[in-house]
């Protein structure tokens, strides 16, 4: 045991190191969130935090659950594949409480031109009008029904 004769001071130093590492591990254990590293170098719970956000758009399946009459009106028209909330806006609050929260009535003179005002950058096949010439300021729903916009007798 001659080789280890003067080793006591080294052991004391090692003990200091071990205690230091232990203290570090304990503090780290408290400070690093439990889910850190669950999937990678990030806090795993962040995923469920982000997923927990409430939705504002109810989704067209939710709308169609109650408004099947509108779905029937839409289904043969050009707007068959336009989702409800594309025009009516985010309506999750209305879907949660249909009695008290009513969607605002829409003004077709403002709404329709958002899509149908003529613009050279729009695809040529998309129906476009220069609203000032087309209706001389009349609201679109004077002639067109927004849910199935073709005028009766006209080609859909």
């Amino acid at each position: 045991m001659n080789a280890f004769k003067d080793s006591e001071h080294l052991l004391r130093l090692a003990a200091v190191f071990v205690v230091g590492i232990l203290v570090f591990l304990v503090i780290r254990g408290f400070l690093v969130p439990k889910s850190f590293g669950e999937y990678g170098h990030y806090r795993g719970d962040a995923i469920s935090d982000i997923a927990a956000r409430p939705v504002n758009f109810a989704g067209h399946e939710t709308c169609e659950g109650c408004h099947s009459d509108v779905l029937d009106k839409k289904k043969d028209g050009k707007h068959a594949h336009v989702n409800c909330e594309a025009c009516h806006g985010a309506q999750a609050k209305h879907a949660d409480d249909p009695a008290t929260i009513q969607p605002p009535k829409l003004d077709t003179a403002v709404l329709c031109v958002k899509c149908h005002e003529a613009n050279a950058a729009k695809p040529k096949s998309f129906p476009q009008v220069a609203s000032a010439d087309h209706s001389s300021g009349l609201a679109c729903n004077t002639c067109h029904q927004p849910h199935s916009p073709a005028i009766s007798g006209e080609k859909k």
């Binding site: 003990a15 254990g29 439990k34 990030y42 594309a86 050279a120 950058a121």
Partner: protein, 243 residues
């Protein structure tokens, strides 16, 4: 029983490692949604975009995006016949109020909706010094608001300009691909509010998703493929002048 100091020293690190495992706990699982079964992306059909700005308004309504900042926006390109290398691009207020008529007639005009490209090899997640931004196991690039320092490295790293610093929280923000919606079985707010179907949410791991048939039958491009980001936002009918 007595433990010598040497034995005690040997035991301590082992005990520390064991205790760390106790602290780590068990991971929580979300009901009805398994991350490993999804790999999210998006399909954008440029030939269908009418530049109405519904997606930008929808995103703002869904995600409380601060005014003047955009998680998605629409650009209008005007490519003149003589200078195809330098298209004129505008995006007034991100296209949130639609677009005024084209100033000069002629040339090739079209709209390009943009959003986070949900890169599978994302430059923005690689530069984060604190692990605040990451690619989730279902392929969405997300930001942990609690961890973000607001150092802006990721804002600079994104080749598509999709990130910004939220002036209220001073943390980085970006499109989450409406992660709170897609995990509930809904589509994104921009897809929900797009009137022409120019945007389609795509689950690349779902064999029944129409994206697979579309990718087989169309010539589909991603933005800046030379950056090798393996973007998962696919563009159909994309013009070569789009940056």
């Amino acid at each position: 029983m007595s433990i010598s100091r040497r034995h005690m020293l040997l035991l301590l690190p082992t005990a520390a490692v064991a205790w760390k495992h106790v602290l780590a706990g068990t991971p929580e699982s979300a009901p009805n949604y398994t991350m490993s079964q999804h790999w999210w992306g998006m399909l954008i059909d440029v030939t269908k975009c009418i530049g109405c700005g519904n997606c930008v308004r929808g995103c703002q309504a869904e995600n409380d995006v601060p005014d003047g900042y955009f998680r998605t926006w629409v650009e209008r390109y005007q490519v003149t016949d003589f200078d195809i290398e330098n298209p004129h691009v505008d995006s007034p207020d991100g296209g949130i109020k639609g677009f005024p008529p084209v100033k000069e007639e002629g040339g090739k005009n079209f709209f390009v909706p943009k959003l986070c490209n949900e890169c599978a090899d994302s430059p923005c997640t690689q530069v984060c010094p604190v692990g605040a931004t990451f690619i989730s196991p279902d392929g969405v690039v997300l930001i942990d608001k609690k961890y973000c320092l607001g150092c802006r490295y990721c804002v600079q790293a994104c080749p598509y300009g999709c990130r910004f610093i939220n002036p209220a929280s001073n943390t980085a923000e970006k499109c989450t691909l409406c992660y709170h919606r897609i995990t509930k079985g809904l589509t994104t707010a921009c897809c929900e509010s797009c009137p022409t179907g120019a945007r389609q949410l795509a689950d690349l791991k779902n064999p029944n998703d129409p994206i697979h048939e579309f990718l087989k039958t169309h010539s589909v491009q991603v933005l800046k493929p030379y950056m090798a980001t393996h973007a998962k936002v696919f563009y159909n009918g994309l013009d070569g002048s789009v940056r």
